[in-house]
Symmetry: C2
Subunit: 237 residues, 2 copies
């Protein structure tokens, strides 16, 4: 029996792996990683949960792909750019990306299969450093300390029980208000004299630590390229 394709019928185009991936990311972005279940994801796509397994081997593989998609969003500018502003800008982009997808950081702990975008991002960073004169060993050091700092800072940022300065003042007040004033004196001082002051935002701490690390790397690079032992102070000081 010949059954012609119903070309005129409004029909859902067959689901693609890309569609599944992006729907999963949107779901996790909006409702948190706990909201991302195969059943709810299927619901959002208008299919049954079991149909997802035609596009994705299992939930773990989906999570791997999601993490790789996050790395694709991190901008790495290395084209003939000096290493310091390039690394600085990449750090800023990485932080923004990881904040946009709050679920990603917590998932990296358990992922072991780096995707293509992840490898490309790493390669670009290493290339920038090597071209700037970093030895292989120093490039490894630099990569480690920069990524550690970025990941850890975002982890703390996401852990904060507030998102804006108004929240902060309210929350820090309620935490310490119920305690005797001398239980945590230094924490109390930090809250009252600094953190709860107008204009304070934890996000601003990011640049202090980032520049401290970049300056330290610059010094280490200078020591290496000038083996007379004289530290070259190339900063603004």
């Amino acid at each position: 029996m010949f059954t012609p394709q119903p070309t005129t019928t409004a029909r859902r185009s067959p689901l693609s792996r890309e569609e599944v991936l992006h729907a999963a990311i949107r779901l996790a972005d909006e409702g948190g990683i706990a909201e991302l279940t195969m059943r709810k994801l299927a619901d959002k796509l208008g299919i049954q949960a079991m149909s997802l397994y035609h596009h994705v081997a299992n939930k773990d593989e989906l999570l791997d792909a999601m993490v790789d998609a996050v790395f694709r969003e991190i901008e790495v500018v290395t084209e003939n750019a000096p290493w310091k502003p390039a690394m600085r800008q990449r750090a800023v982009s990485a932080r923004q990306t990881l904040l946009r997808h709050a679920w990603a950081l917590g998932m990296m702990e358990s992922r072991a299969n780096p995707g293509q975008a992840t490898l490309e991002c790493h390669d670009a960073v290493l290339g920038c450093l090597r071209r700037a004169g970093f030895s292989v060993a120093l490039a490894a050091h630099a990569f480690s300390v920069l990524d550690s700092y970025i990941y850890g800072f975002v982890l703390q940022e996401l852990n904060l029980p507030f998102q804006n300065p108004d929240d902060l003042q309210r929350v820090s007040g309620s935490i310490l208000q119920n305690l005797p004033a001398d239980t945590y004196p230094h924490l109390m001082e930090m809250m009252t004299a600094h953190v709860s002051q107008p204009g304070y935002a934890y996000a601003d701490e990011f640049m202090f630590g980032l520049d401290l690390i970049l300056d330290g790397l610059e010094q280490a690079l200078g020591v290496r390229t000038q083996p007379d032992g004289c530290v070259a102070l190339t900063g603004s000081g």
Copy 2:
């Protein structure tokens, strides 16, 4: 009717909240956080899952208590110790503790209720810095950059698909072997010329970054306490 207590009968002492907490930590340490379900935890304690709710409001409260117990394990030596070795030793202890409880880091992302041990740990660190002459603002900077680095480093360490140098050589080989040699040239160079060399261990990168940050903080402290603008180089260089 009078029913006497069966004093002679071998009877389980009533379960305490502490017992539940430690069993939960052991379960997560051994099998990963996914293994920690209320049902399996109850099994291990020889009771039914529902009985746990007499000692813990819900799973979320249990997770909060587990994170706080991890902070209790971090050693903070601040008694009259100079700030630099004290902060160095605390960073080492924090890293070891977080490696011992690999589940803890991923959970901090979603916890918002700091416990007593957490607050005590933070207070001790701030006290050490303040006594050493750090301004409130610089102490906040120092705290942020140090904790960010520690957390981020451990996050990367846990993310590595190997635990010892032997694994490393095998894994790094299999990742890059299947690729054309020029797809990720700098990653390839890093693997072949550095990471896969005998004696390399990612764990050793920890001290480079830690000392880089501590030296940077020392410099920032010196600049502040000597307002003549002359940087005091108190390091070994």
